[in-house]
């Protein structure tokens, strides 16, 4: 019975971390159709922002939840103004540009931090669940993810800002005709997507050994989740992360971590074969 509880926690954590990793990408790719191959590097920067500021004496919660998203948001802003802005609507070009950007960012991080592993300890200790010890920080990641999803939903559905963003993404010309500057809306949305990515990097930083090349490990998972999810932003990533997370954890527990990874990829392949528009291309079509 204890084991069932432990497995449940691990599965929920796995789903939550997939959502967290892909939320920023869902905004940038899902809403804006910009393929940001530097997504993993944005997370890496969020991680370093957290570790550097925590080591400099900033409260670790502030470092994770405030410093990391702000830093990466600003980086995203600069990138949007200098690179992405001139490439809207040119899918392949953005891919090439952001791929180059990811190489530059890895190089810069290596120059600044060196190619050694950095990290901080998780600020929450483990707890006992029956006869098992559970990583308490995993639950924190779950809570952050839930709060994040709720606020994303609220902003997109309930505020004028969200309406404006969604409207501009669908028909930029109409938004412009109504007197809103699409350029500024794109800028703000890219900032928000980058900040979400930075938040993910910051929150996951205490769980990993961070190196400048860490991002490469995230980018594939994030794209798989977002593409499998399909058009709807929130319901899309939640449904795909749930399916992928449950499948990969089930196989990991039953066999080995390698098999779990393979199972995740096979599931994504099968899903995309059956539902080429993603899960929300067929189901929950009217959801956000």
């Amino acid at each position: 019975m204890d084991l069932a509880g432990v497995i449940a926690i691990e599965v929920v954590y796995s789903v939550a971390s997939l959502i967290l990793i892909s939320a920023g990408l869902a905004v940038i790719f899902g809403m804006m159709r910009v393929i940001n191959l530097a997504h993993g590097e944005f997370m890496m920067i969020g991680g370093y922002a957290t570790i550097v500021s925590a080591n400099a004496g900033v409260n670790v919660w502030v470092a994770m939840l405030v410093v990391a998203p702000l830093t990466v948001g600003l980086v995203g802003l600069v990138v949007e103004r200098l690179v992405i802005r001139v490439l809207y609507g040119r899918l392949v070009d953005t891919m090439l540009a952001t791929w180059g950007l990811s190489l530059v960012l890895v190089g810069l991080a290596t120059m600044i931090f060196g190619n050694t592993t950095a990290g901080i300890s998780p600020p929450i200790s483990g707890f006992a669940l029956g006869g098992y010890q559970v990583n308490g920080y995993n639950l924190f990641v779950v809570v952050v993810t839930v709060v994040l999803l709720a606020s994303m939903w609220a902003v997109l559905r309930l505020t004028r800002l969200g309406l404006l963003a969604r409207g501009t993404m669908q028909r930029a010309d109409m938004a412009a005709a109504l007197g809103y500057d699409p350029d500024r809306v794109y800028m703000a949305t890219f900032f928000a997507g980058s900040a979400l990515t930075g938040l993910a990097g910051g929150v996951l930083a205490p769980l990993v050994g961070l190196v400048p090349t860490t991002g490469a490990g995230y980018v594939a998972e994030a794209f798989i989740t977002v593409i499998t999810g399909g058009a709807s932003l929130i319901v899309g990533i939640v449904s795909s992360a749930t399916i992928l997370g449950v499948v990969s954890q089930a196989f990991t527990f039953a066999t080995r971590p390698v098999v779990g990874e393979v199972a995740l990829l096979v599931t994504a392949l099968v899903l995309l074969r059956l539902l080429p528009q993603g899960i929300t291309g067929r189901f929950f079509r009217r959801a956000t």
Partner: protein, 410 residues
């Protein structure tokens, strides 16, 4: 015994030369003598620079010390170093350059096993002695090569019985999923069974796995007495964090063959406390040779924080080569190899290092240590451990023309 062989002749010759140089008027000319060329190929940039940089610093320090002491055979030693940028293709290219254009007298370098196997045949063909100074999976049998790093059997033979004696018999093995991890896991099983232990489970992880939650739960289900880790690299460092974060650190003790080689225990800090390891070197070793080494490193580079197992291994490799040159009285290949095979020893920062003539691998001290407060506490020193894994497959005295890397059957 009347016949004078080439080696004796050269020895005599160099003794004469030494005698001649003892007169002060000629000392000035020694520095002007043609330098001995030492080639080095290391990843000083790219993803492996964390290993390559300290090794490069150690090599230069060793050469500086040799030159400050008057050089070798009254000739200065000149370093020709190439940065292979963590790119295997560049190893081949630079090894060719060292052999053909620079015509160096010896090559030190290579980090990953793949890089060693890329340059080993080139240097063998060019008849340039090659020193590979990194801990690795064992099995290279080549008379042109000298290996000064630790092999799994040397480490594991010390580590596993010590862990079993301390903590109990049931063992859970975690290892990286490539040849080093696979081979090391096999040695762990063998030594565990010899010491009366039992391996309850072995899990292998690709190098990019960084989520170990399910593994930690599985380990708890298996209730082992000990966790043995041969995890490698930045992503795998997450395991130690998640292990400590779930509170398991104080419940099931751990021993590792890899943690600390790149000074990872300093990053982990208290999360690495109590983990048992066995290496040839730790900065905490209290010996005159190590104190002198650290002092020289500090004088040359300021901070000694980068000193690690691989750096010292490279330093000891260069020192061994220099000693062999002194013994042979020449940098010529065959006399040098014969000098190495004469059971030569040096006193390095990690203790006495002897080259085993049959395998050209190092017989060295292995220190059993425990991490505490970001440092290591030496618990016990096992002196002069032979490379029994490679010895089981390699005998260069019987087959001097051998040049294979054997996969060791366990």
């Amino acid at each position: 015994m009347a016949a004078l062989n080439k080696r004796d002749f050269l020895k005599g010759g160099s003794a004469l030369a030494l005698g001649a140089l003892a007169s002060p008027a000629l000392v000035g000319r020694a520095a002007a003598a043609e330098p001995i060329k030492l080639g080095s190929v290391l990843d000083v940039s790219g993803i492996f620079d964390g290993y390559g940089k300290p090794m490069d610093m150690a090599l230069r320090l060793a050469v500086e010390e040799i030159n400050a002491g008057g050089g070798l055979l009254d000739r200065p030693v000149e370093v020709t170093a190439y940065d292979t940028q963590s790119d295997i293709a560049l190893y081949t290219q630079y090894a060719q350059q060292l052999a053909r254009r620079d015509r160096v007298d010896v090559v030190h370098g290579g980090i990953l096993s793949a890089s060693r196997e890329a340059i080993r045949p080139i240097l063998r063909r060019a008849e340039i002695p090659y020193f590979y100074n990194v801990l690795y999976e064992g099995g290279v049998c080549d008379r042109n090569v000298v290996v000064t790093g630790v092999t799994p059997a040397q480490q594991v033979a010390v580590l596993v019985p010590a862990a079993i004696e301390r903590w109990g018999k049931r063992i859970y093995i975690l290892a990286a999923d490539y040849n080093y991890g696979q081979i090391t896991a096999r040695w762990m099983r063998k030594f565990a069974e010899e010491a009366g232990g039992e391996v309850v489970e072995t899990d292998f992880f690709p190098l990019d796995v960084s989520d170990f939650g399910s593994t930690i739960a599985k380990i708890q289900t298996a209730t082992p007495d000990i966790v043995l880790s041969a995890l490698v690299g930045g992503a795998h460092l997450s395991f130690y964090r998640q292990w400590a974060a779930s509170g398991m650190k104080d419940r099931i003790p751990m021993a590792s063959t890899t943690l600390g080689v790149g000074n990872e225990h300093r990053i982990l800090g208290p999360e690495a406390d109590g983990i048992l390891v066995a290496y040839n070197y730790a900065p905490e070793i209290d010996s005159p040779a190590n104190r002198a080494f650290l002092e020289a490193w500090g004088a040359a580079y300021g901070d000694t924080g980068l000193v690690n197992e691989l750096a010292v291994s490279n330093y000891q490799g260069v020192t061994l080569w220099a000693e062999a040159v002194r013994r042979a009285g020449t940098v010529e290949r065959m006399p040098l190899i014969e000098a190495i095979e004469s059971g030569m020893a040096i006193e390095g920062p990690g203790g006495t290092v002897v080259i085993d003539p049959k395998t050209h691998h190092a017989i060295l001290d292995v220190h059993l240590m425990e991490f505490r407060d970001g440092g290591a506490v030496i618990l016990e020193t096992f002196e002069q451990r032979p490379p029994i894994d490679t010895q089981a497959v390699c005998d260069l005295e019987a087959n001097p023309d051998d040049d294979t890397q054997y996969e060791i059957e366990i």
